[in-house]
Every structure is written in C-alpha cells, then in structure tokens.
C-alpha cells in the first residue's frame, strides 16, 4: 500500500483501479473516447470490456493526456477520457498547462494515484510523500480538478465531467493491485479499430 501518500490529512478512500475503470465505462453511453496510459491503466481498461472507442498505449510513458488532447481537438463534439497513472503523469507534468491553456470543453483526465511504480516492483515515486497531483493540476491552470473521496464521489465527478464546460481532472487514490487483464499488444490493430470507432475510417 502507498502508506506515505495515504497518511496525508486528506479524507480520501483507497479505491481500486479496475473497479473505478469499470464504473467509468458503465457511464459512457455516447461513444466517448477513452485513452488508457501505459501498463496497468490500459490493462484495466481492456479488462473492463473492449469498446471500439478505446485506445491502448504500449509505451510512451506520460502521453495519455497529450494523445487524449489531440483526439479532443480533432473531435470537439465527442467527450474524451484519459486514464493515467501518477508515475506516468510525473513524466509529463507540462501537459497540464498546455491543456489548461487550450481549455478543450470535452476532455476529462483521470489520475490513478497509488504513489508507486506498481508494474516495475512497487517502488515509490519521487512524489509519493511530498506532492499532491490535484494541487499540481490546479496550479497548472486546471481549476476543475478534484480528488474523489470514495467510489460514489468518483461517479459523481464523472457525471459532472460528462457535462462540464471545460477540462476536468479527477484524482483517485488507489491500492497497489496490478492490472486485471493484459491488453493484446497489436498496435496497428489497436489504432485502426480506434479510428473505426471514432468514425474516421470505414472498414475495408
């Protein structure tokens, strides 16, 4: 467990990535796009049930939010969600300012924060005991950023994001469990099916 991060004064429940991802997916009724970051975030997205509008990253740590921003700019009438780990986001904190500056009306970012690099052996991140991802997001200009206090609050924040007039960020403190599934590592098929799902391409 991420003891240091959990020992903060924040009254946030420790949740589970797969459970939260499943709750998010269950709320998507309008072919919303979902970008899963590397490793566990996209494994759990895959395990929550493949959708044609899901994109699974296989590398490029930290680029889930930038990729989602690109999709959001290309399709302003479609809601876009991005699932990212705290360690991944630390690789690319500058993207929060870029997104705040562009202020897309259709982008929701979810940070699954366990304070560790779970997939490489659960080493703590440099931020684990000292930094607050949501406070960083707010200071980066993403005013509509909040920690989810518990599962119900997470669902409430997702509902809000589905109707929000600007970009939103949801922080969720999660446990140290590995991802539930294993995404099929076929990048060309992942990309092509995603484009089909977004209506950019027609199948041959």
């Amino acid at each position: 467990m991420n003891t240091p991060a959990n020992s903060s004064a924040r009254n946030t429940r420790i949740m589970n990535r797969f459970d939260l991802t499943s709750r998010l997916i269950a709320k998507l009724k309008n072919e919303e796009a979902v970008i899963g970051g590397i490793g566990n975030t996209n494994f759990d997205l895959w395990a929550a049930g493949h959708r044609p509008q899901n994109f699974y990253m296989l590398g490029s740590m930290g680029l889930a939010f930038p990729i989602a921003l690109g999709v959001a700019l290309a399709q302003p009438n479609r809601r876009v969600f991005a699932l990212e780990g705290d360690g991944s986001l630390l690789m690319q904190l500058g993207c929060l300012s870029t997104i705040a500056s562009l202020a897309p009306k259709n982008l929701c970012m979810v940070v699954m924060d366990n304070g560790i690099y779970q997939i490489t052996g659960a080493q703590p991140t440099p931020a684990a005991t000292v930094a607050d991802i949501v406070a960083i997001a707010i200071a980066s200009g993403l005013a509509d950023s909040a920690w989810a206090a518990d599962e119900e609050d997470f669902e409430r924040l997702v509902d809000r994001s589905l109707a929000a007039p600007g970009p939103t960020l949801i922080g969720a403190r999660i446990d140290d469990k590995p991802g539930t599934g294993q995404t099929r590592r076929d990048p060309v098929q992942i990309r092509e099916r995603f484009m089909l799902g977004l209506g950019v391409r027609q199948a041959l």
């Binding site: 296989l58 490029s60 680029l63 959001a72 700019l73 990048p187 060309v188």
Partner: protein, 194 residues
C-alpha cells in the same frame, strides 16, 4: 542574420500565395495544401517567422508545448481523430523523441510529420548543440525513418509537399530537417575576440 535575409528576400515584400518568397512561406503553404491544421511546437529562433505566421492565420491551430514528445502525442491523437498535424522543433528537441517514435508513431503506423530546425552545424557556437546534432541522423536511420534535409529554396516545395503526401499515404513518420543553408541558421551576433 544576413544569410537568412538574403535567402528570404527583403523585409515587407509582398508574398502571394502562389509565389512564396521565403522558406517559411513555402512550409506554411505546403501545410495548407495538405490540410495540416494542427501545429504544436517548441520554439526555435529560426522558426520565429513561421510560428508567428501560423498564429496569424486562422486556418491553423498552433500552440507551444512544454516538451516535443508532448506535441508528438497531441498530433498522434489528433490524426487518429481525423485532424492532420505537424510538429515544429529544434535539433536538441528531436533528441528527446527516440522513445515516442519507437513506441507510438512507428508501431502504430501514424504519419508523424516533423520539421526540425537544424542547429549544431555550419557555424554553431554551442558545443552541446554541435554534439547533439550528430545524434539526429543516426537515430533516424536506426529506426529506418524517412528524412530529408532541405538546403535550397527551389527544392523546398517539392521536398515538403511530396514528403507530407508520402507520410500520409504510407502511414509512416517523416522528419524534414531545415538546414542553415536554407534558413540562414543561428550565429553569434558578434565575432569572439581573437
């Protein structure tokens, strides 16, 4: 920047869309011709005129990013969503991209279009720039990536237009390197004392 001015013509000359008079006019027109509307960048002195002209033209959505790989992520997502993009950067910024090219653009077959303002050669004054420049083409070659170095204004339209079209139709990335021979490059304003 005398060499640059010599290449780009007198300041304030009227550039018609069909008769571009400078390298940055050609690049901008080729982006338009190929419907490339999204242009994130990490700035470079040499790219100043191009960047300000992109900002001034409502055809383009152009903005700075904090890192080059962030811009690569953005144009990759945009392309999958049906919006074409290109990234502007400097040589040292390109040096940060090996991982994203090898893990995103190439394996997912995304036509990543990059314009790299070349520093580190033909009058470089910063040793670090000259060293990092030497890594650029070996990295491109080791990934078997298409790349061209534009040195002449009269060849620029051909190189840029054809390369963009090839990237899109073959779904493969391309790096277009803007040589100091084309742009004038960046030089010290004053010669160092002997």
């Amino acid at each position: 920047m005398a060499a640059c001015d010599a290449q780009t013509g007198p300041e304030g000359s009227e550039a018609k869309a069909s008769e571009p008079t400078s390298w940055h006019d050609v690049v901008l027109q080729m982006l338009k011709r190929n419907d490339i509307r999204l242009v994130p960048y990490v700035p470079d002195r040499i790219l100043t005129a191009l960047i300000s002209n992109l900002h001034a033209d409502p055809f383009f959505t152009t903005f700075p990013t904090a890192r080059e790989e962030e811009a690569v992520g953005i144009v990759s997502g945009a392309w999958m969503g049906g919006l074409r993009g290109a990234v502007l950067m400097q040589t040292s910024g390109f040096a940060t991209l090996a991982n994203v090219m090898a893990s995103l653009a190439i394996p997912y077959q995304i036509p990543l279009i990059m314009f790299v303002s070349e520093r580190g050669t033909l009058g470089e004054f910063n040793y670090g720039q000259s060293l990092v420049c030497r890594t650029m083409r070996p990295v491109l070659d080791s990934l078997a990536m298409e790349h061209h170095t534009a040195t002449r204004l009269d060849q620029l339209e051909f190189i840029v237009d054809r390369s963009i079209r090839q990237a899109i139709t073959t779904q493969a990335p391309v790096a277009l390197i803007l040589s100091p021979l084309l742009t004038g490059g960046k030089v010290l304003d004053k010669r160092a004392p002997e």
